[in-house]
Symmetry: C2
């Protein structure tokens, strides 16, 4: 593992110094190599799936593990999208003249080496590897033990693509043996070789990484997202946005888990929203006031902090903006929260005061996604308070340096 | 300590939501309160100094501990400068339209709660507290046991200023008893109450914080800075910049510790530079090739990685740009490095390829300072690769959130 880290550091310089076009060429070559190795990769994946079936792993697990031809194509298309993104490295994000006449500029540079720890989905190796490379970073990937054949085959394609474009194949490395010790070493920073860790998987993985990592982590543990229907909401928008926010896909981190609705609007609006949600297959759990308006199961205290990732919605009546904001501050996970209203002052107050990574006005919380933000991809969504927050795209996988130009300038 | 953390978190919301003018007013009130309490603070400081003298602490330590009237005035003036800085909170740093027509903006928000661990200099409490507050953050300050009376008195002024401007006094809290356990709890994040740690003090403090912190740290351990005199250097500039970079103040982290000089330029230039440095009181330690040109002590392998913080300079002859960049990558600390040349292509290559927080062309490494950058102050200089790099000013003490506006927009 230590040698693997040293190889990543050595490769980092070449990847960082390469022109952006060379990184683009490498990404295109990676997409080509993946496509060329489709049969190898899919048969390696079949072997992983068979082994998982033999171990009687859950159908949900096996589904995540399985690379169907459609998923394979989406993976290749994703790499091509990333190859076409503008290269963020070298961009000047600010420039100014200092007190002594020096010309300052702040220039984007790669972070360095990104450690990615993921579970069953083998396509994460290509997605996360490609996005990291787009930003000039090297990657150390550690997949789950059940996807080892699939990830090894994908890794081979990644390395072929890199080499074809003249970049070091060690820019993207796969931890060969999926032992637990490797994860511990990565979380400790791999002897200084890893700058940031990105966990990709279930809550137990993220929790372990957040608890044990000695290097920074880009992640979110929970997506307890709220849609708040303000008294000034347009009824049509409230129904459409709430149903989409909850039910478009219930398993994504941006799915709304709690509906807050103003007392003034609830008698007229809650029955309409509830009917639309139920028609879409959603179960409701409400507080006493909500249940006085629409019959539904009772919500317990645990419901307010629950990330169901399922067709279940908790519903609470609030007195107004203050109570909605206080509820979100107390029970939310600072991920994504929305207000539905035609009252711009209320919207502005909500957007300013709710301290979440993403705050929306009259829009679905399911927009919490790097693609929907126009980032062309994301390595995940972060709810930490340093460096990156919200969808982590290529730009957020960079840091900066200061470039200062003088003319024999000395400090007084 | 746990209650102290909870109070900081509670205060954070009020400080974050306050208008920028209120934070400015609080900073001005803090400066006034410090000035009004000058006698109290200086007599508390005298008591600390007497106790330190009784314990026979070193003169250097006692010097750092001592608040002279001039230092006191500089501290108050520093807070007034910070009060006059633009408030970074709420600034829109990017805005764009997403694929579904949503209006996105990225808005600066405070990080939250900053833990500052410092040693003997009591003025750090005011400097670091004020800059953190400028960016909308709350602060937990833990000073050294020898400055406990001084810091308590300064803390009282900070809290009076906050209260006078209607902000919670708990926005800036001093850890009351300087026990070692408090530092450990802060490094562990104080039960989730601290978002980032800033160590201010000597290398052993920074090393401990970097080793043990479970939350992100803004710091640098070493400032092994280089000035590289390229073959195309203007001799006058090379002499003036090198002498300033080394000798203006030898004890600052941006002081140059190693001079690299091209073989082609050395016979003509090294004698001039060496003479000017010696006249300024500097001792030289060179590699064999340098000593063949100018008589000086021999440098050992350890000298290349040494941060002298003293009137000592190591000198190495290099073949050219490649060798200079390789030397800096191997021995440097990614803090601040400069090239002296009239050759713009060489300068551009150096500025692009040297992966340090600050890279300069024809300017002194002693410009590594937030004030010189025009930041109006700094909480320190960071050499990490996440969030902040180089001088950490008020802007770097913020993070961002995404504000998204739709019109009943749902995700397809």
């Amino acid at each position: 593992m230590r040698a693997l880290g040293a190889r990543a550091r050595a490769a980092a310089q070449a990847v960082r110094e390469a022109p952006g076009e060379q990184r683009s060429a490498a990404l295109a070559a990676i997409a080509d190599a993946l496509a060329a190795m489709q049969d190898d990769i899919l048969s390696s994946n079949s072997a992983d799936v068979k082994a998982a079936q033999a171990r009687a792993l859950t159908p949900a697990f096996i589904d995540r593990l399985t690379l169907t031809p459609a998923r394979f194509e989406a993976m290749v298309a994703g790499v091509r999208t990333i190859a076409a993104l503008p290269d963020p490295v070298g961009a000047v994000t600010a420039s100014w003249t200092g007190p002594q006449g020096l010309a300052f500029s702040r220039v984007r540079t790669p972070i360095g080496v990104i450690g990615i720890i993921f579970e069953s989905r083998p396509n994460v190796a290509a997605d996360a590897g490609a996005l990291s490379l787009r930003a000039g970073n090297c990657v150390i990937l550690r997949g789950g033990s059940d996807s080892v054949r699939s990830v090894a085959a994908i890794g081979e394609a990644l390395r072929r693509g890199l080499a074809r474009a003249g970049l070091p194949a060690d820019a993207i490395q796969i931890v060969p043996s999926p032992d637990r010790a490797a994860v511990g070493m990565m979380l400790a920073g791999l002897y200084g070789a890893i700058d940031v860790i990105v966990p990709r998987g279930g809550k137990s993985l993220v929790a372990r990484v957040q608890d044990e990592a000695r290097v920074p982590v880009f992640a979110h543990l929970d997506g307890v997202c709220h849609t708040y229907v303000h008294a000034g909401a347009d009824p049509e928008k409230a129904v459409a946005v709430t149903v989409n926010a909850k039910m478009r896909r219930v398993s994504v981190c941006g799915a709304t888990e709690t509906l807050l609705i103003d007392r003034a609007a609830a008698p007229a609006l809650l029955p309409r929203i509830a009917a639309a949600l139920r028609e879409a297959g959603c179960t409701l759990r409400g507080d006493e006031d909500a249940r006085a308006i629409v019959a539904m199961d009772a919500a317990s205290e645990e419901d307010w902090g629950a990330e169901y990732l399922d067709a279940i919605l908790s519903v609470r009546i609030v007195q107004g903006l203050e109570e909605a904001i206080a509820h979100i501050a107390r029970y939310g996970s600072a991920h994504t929260d929305a207000i539905i209203t035609e009252d711009d002052a209320a919207a502005d107050a909500f957007l300013k005061r709710v301290d979440s990574a993403i705050v929306l006005h009259n829009a679905s919380t399911q927009f919490a996604d790097g693609g929907e933000f126009g980032f062309g991809g994301e390595i995940g969504i972060a709810t930490g308070r340093l460096h990156a927050r919200g969808p982590v795209g290529a730009e957020q996988l960079t840091i900066f340096k200061y470039v200062v130009r003088g003319d024999g300038t000395v400090r007084p």
